[in-house]
């Protein structure tokens, strides 16, 4: 078959010749420009998951409480009282690399729409961010722009930004990672799926007018970046959080009406994707009269309109007799709505411009027909254990570590986010996990995002398992039981065997950990081609997790509470320093085997923790992670404003591994002296090693004769500005 299309045209839509042939086979002819553009968008990596789909099938997605797994705008899980928690995490890396403020802002906007499209009121935002070192001006520009964009959107919209994480590594220079997670709540009977399953329904496009912004955004997110990427700036959209707030309130009111069939947000690949997916999920077709769509400027072609990624737009599908009621809602919020088409029984998407057919494609081919890619994978070699430098001056190391960009206080960042609006924030940002009240109940939702990039870089399988285990541990430290996972897989160019190998190993680790901890994956997103001028980002899986606390009065904080309380380390410390913040501080290369997670031990530790918290034995709990034991202890001291006296820590491992090693499956807890026997018994029952660390109290942080530093000096180091 002749390829009746120029290579340049294929490059424009980022499809290859095989894919072009598949299109011709599917529709029985050469596609016209608009059709090719539509295929390019929906068959992009970003929309179609053509490289990751086969791997993602390994993930456990079911569970007794799962109401909606992957495939919808967001996942949903039952939390009792007739309520469901709805959540998803998504990347906006490519736009943020080009225009950090708007890239990050519209990332937040997009994930909010995914949640309220499900009928849920957004109650929290979290952000997982990675940047290059702030020593360079460009990385600083990206850092400040992204932080301002997240705050700018979330603060104006009125959804609290309650958590997340920021890491810095040279591997993210010029290619920052911006992942936004949104969590919402909805009554079961109001949970809405974006499925247009009734022919004859009316299709309304609501919200912003359609402009030329973001054309080819999905395609842009599916190719590597180079020096020409700056020219793609028009592919970055501009956000309007005020309009989004009105859209959200309108959608939540619509959700209460009879005769509303579906609500779908317009995200990547704009109207093409939204309309196609809506109709295809319902096994129906859709007709669109493209001239009915209000535009921001003159001279826009059907191609521009169908592929625009203008923000703050929703498709609403209603029964014809419900259109008037829907319009009343839009009028109340002064929102503009165009009636742009109808749902049909044809199983095709047909676009007409003033009555003339401009595109006519079977939906199955467009939405589901992309040939899956299975690139060659090469697996990283297991690295030998490295020789560790002995720690010379523990106090200086502690102060340097806690002042380092990856460990210092995040307050300068999160105080620019409204983390309290909606009056539900029990634990805000800065702790292991955020804790929110479920309004109208005495229940809490614990929320976190996690992913240590260095472990994953050393071993994608182990590192991803560690990310799941750490997220679950963070949730458990608040007293909540982890219930479900969302994930965002950020990787480089999968056409390179080493990168595809990372992806394959990481997903295998994700699947194994989620199975072992019985956590269904209910939503997620894959961001590939995070490559800039042939430099690939380190493999970066980010785990978003939600936990449920049945009784908020049982919540467990992260900071020391009472002088005289005894502090224990739960879990086992091994001679593990590879991938640690300590070695990075010493300037050692990232090599060796990262800490290994025993999921069996992790399960027991988490069960023991929940048991102890439920019985009120533990007064505070804090996960031991980046920086190791001394950093965890110092943080608990700083959170609570109480000093700590350790008589001296001795163990079967080297001093540096005990102080700064990052063995997994460990938690620091404080306990009132009279409850110690109970703690010992509980830990013995669950076979969890317990190590007495010291006593809460005083104005100093003291460890044997190695360290004696005042809490004030410790705080000063911790609060080093960015």
């Amino acid at each position: 078959m002749a390829i009746a299309v120029k290579r340049a045209q294929l490059e424009e839509v980022a499809l290859n010749e095989d894919e072009y042939r598949a299109i011709v086979r599917a529709i029985g002819r050469d596609p016209n420009d608009l059709e090719l553009g539509m295929f390019g968008a929906l068959w992009s990596e970003h929309c179609s998951y053509k490289t990751s789909k086969a791997l993602l099938r390994q993930l456990p997605t079911e569970g007794p409480d799962v109401l909606q797994g992957p495939g919808e705008n967001a996942g949903a899980v039952d939390i009792g009282d007739g309520l469901a928690v709805v959540f998803k995490i998504e990347s906006h890396n490519h736009p943020s690399a080009i225009e950090p403020y708007q890239g990050a802002a519209t990332g937040v906007g997009g994930i909010l729409r995914d949640v309220f499209a499900m009928g849920a009121r957004p109650i929290a935002i979290l952000d997982a961010l990675r940047f290059g070192p702030l020593e360079t001006g460009h990385n600083r520009h990206l850092f400040h722009g992204v932080i301002a964009g997240i705050g700018g959107y979330g603060n104006c919209f009125g959804c609290p930004t309650v958590g997340g994480e920021v890491h810095f590594d040279a591997g993210y220079s010029d290619n920052p990672i911006v992942n936004a997670m949104c969590v919402g709540l909805v009554a079961h009977d109001r949970l809405r799926r974006a499925t247009a399953d009734r022919a004859g329904d009316v299709v309304l496009l609501v919200g912003a007018d359609t402009g030329r912004d973001g054309i080819h955004g999905a395609t842009f997110a599916s190719v590597e970046m180079d020096e020409r990427s700056a020219q793609r700036r028009p592919a970055v959209q501009v956000g309007n959080p005020f309009l989004e707030k009105l859209l959200c309130e309108a959608c939540l009111q619509l959700n209460e009406l009879d005769g509303v069939t579906a609500i779908q947000d317009l995200g990547a690949a704009g109207l093409t994707s939204a309309a196609s997916e809506l109709a295809h999920r319902g096994r129906r077709g859709i007709d669109i009269a493209v001239e009915k769509i209000s535009r921001r400027e003159q001279g826009m072609t059907p191609y521009d309109v169908m592929l625009s990624e203008s923000q703050e737009r929703m498709l609403v599908v209603v029964r014809p007799e419900a259109e008037a009621a829907a319009r009343e809602v839009f009028d109340h919020f002064e929102l503009h709505a165009d009636r742009i088409g109808t749902v049909t029984g044809t199983a095709r998407i047909r676009i007409r411009d003033h009555g003339v057919s401009v595109a006519d494609i079977p939906l199955k081919a467009l939405v589901d027909g992309v040939p899956l890619r299975s690139p060659v994978a090469s697996l990283p070699d297991k690295q030998p254990t490295v020789v560790m430098p002995a720690v010379e001056e523990p106090e200086a190391v502690l102060l340097d570590l806690i002042a380092s960009p990856n460990l210092r206080s995040r307050r300068p960042i999160y105080r620019t986010y409204d983390h309290q609006v909606q009056d539900n924030t029990v634990f805000g940002p800065g702790f292991d996990a955020a804790l929110l009240r479920v309004p109208g109940t005495n229940k809490g939702l614990a929320l976190t995002t996690d992913g240590n990039p260095w472990y994953v870089a050393l071993d994608p399988y182990e590192g991803t398992r560690a990310a799941v285990a750490e997220a679950a541990r963070n949730i458990v430290c608040t007293g909540a039981r982890p219930i479900a996972v969302t994930n965002c897989l950020n990787f480089g160019n999968p056409e390179r065997p080493a990168i595809f190998g990372q992806l394959q190993e990481s997903i295998r680790g994700l699947a194994d950990a989620c199975r072992a901890l019985e956590l269904p994956v209910v939503s997620g997103n894959v961001s590939l081609y995070n490559e800039t001028s042939e430099r690939n980002i380190p493999p970066t899986p980010v785990i978003g997790m939600v936990g449920l606390l049945d009784d908020l009065s049982l919540r467990c904080p992260s900071g020391f509470k009472e002088d005289g309380d005894l502090v224990f380390l739960l879990g086992e410390t091994r001679e593990e320093l590879a991938g640690s913040a300590y070695l990075r501080l010493l300037g050692a290369p990232t090599e060796g085997r990262p800490p290994v997670v025993s999921l069996e031990m992790e399960r027991r530790l988490q069960a023991a923790m929940l048991d102890s918290i439920r019985r009120g034995v533990i007064r505070c709990a804090h996960d031991v992670s980046d920086g190791g034991l001394l950093i965890a202890l110092a943080e608990s001291a700083l959170y609570g404003g109480h000093g700590l006296r350790c008589p001296g820590i001795m163990g079967s491992v080297s001093r540096e591994a005990f102080y700064f090693g990052e063995s997994q499956g460990r938690v620091v807890v404080s306990v009132a002296p009279r409850r110690v026997p109970e703690l010992q018994k509980l830990m013995a029952n669950h076979h969890i090693p317990l190590y007495a660390v010291g006593v809460v109290g005083g104005e100093d942080f003291q460890v044997g004769s190695d360290i004696r530093v005042s809490l004030d000096s410790l705080r000063e180091a911790w609060e080093t500005a960015f």
Partner: protein, 233 residues
């Protein structure tokens, strides 16, 4: 206390205020649409926080022209109790119901954090239940809360005892370090001369439950209840 909570396009503290006044304090509340023109059924009107009209222009500059604002002005002039919180404070200034202006924070950044406020006078309808010198812990959440007034206005506000709250340290000292946004004289909240209209940047509705970190904000709403009882008596 029949309480009306005004909802402009872009308001988001409306639900939080209804939670505090309605659910926690058990007072009858209703939302007032920005297009409404009558407030006769109300004892207290709250202009809550948010980003009215996106605050893309000067904060509050558009909301001030919403139909309901004429009714709010009449209501205030007749002695009705009016509380503006954050964006609501900005709107009350734009409507000339309160003096001064709120500029961009001196840090040029949005700030969301708990602050300490010293009560300066307990005569206003929203500080009756406190005593001068008392320190309250209430959060702020704004990008433009930097109180400014020309010298004459500022002197008049101070002379008339219209300053209700000042940012302060934990022990009540008014210091530069405790000023989160650059406000002149650390001013966080002011009243009109009559004391029935108060605007404040901090969010008392966020400080009404121990679960959320403190209950000092209750004083503001309870004062209004007592102010009404006093009028009735």
């Amino acid at each position: 206390m029949r309480t009306g909570i005004i909802v402009f396009p872009g308001t988001w503290s409306d639900r939080d205020c209804a939670h505090a006044v309605g659910e926690i304090l058990g007072q009858p509340t209703r939302y007032v649409d920005y297009r409404e023109e009558r407030l006769d059924d109300l004892d207290l009107v709250i202009l809550p926080g948010g980003f009215s009209y996106g605050d893309y222009l000067r904060c509050g500059a558009i909301a001030r022209f919403a139909p309901v604002m004429e009714a709010v002005t009449d209501f205030a002039n007749r002695g009705g109790l009016v509380l503006g919180i954050c964006n609501g404070f900005q709107i009350l200034q734009e409507a000339r119901l309160l003096p001064g202006a709120l500029l961009r924070n001196a840090s040029c950044e949005f700030r969301c954090e708990w602050v300490n406020l010293r009560v300066e006078q307990s005569e206003s309808a929203f500080s009756l239940d406190s005593r001068p010198g008392q320190v309250l812990r209430i959060p702020i959440s704004h990008g433009e809360g930097n109180f400014f007034a020309d010298r004459e206005t500022l002197e008049a506000i101070e002379r008339n005892g219209q300053v209700v709250f000042r940012y302060c340290a934990q022990d009540g000292r008014v210091t530069a370090e405790s000023n989160p946004n650059g406000s002149l004289s650390n001013i966080a909240g002011i009243a009109n001369a009559r004391g029935n209209v108060v605007g404040m940047m901090p969010h008392p509705e966020r400080a009404c439950e121990d679960l959320l970190g403190g209950t000092d904000g209750l004083m503001v709403f309870r004062s209004a209840i007592h102010a009404l009882a006093r009028v009735a008596a």
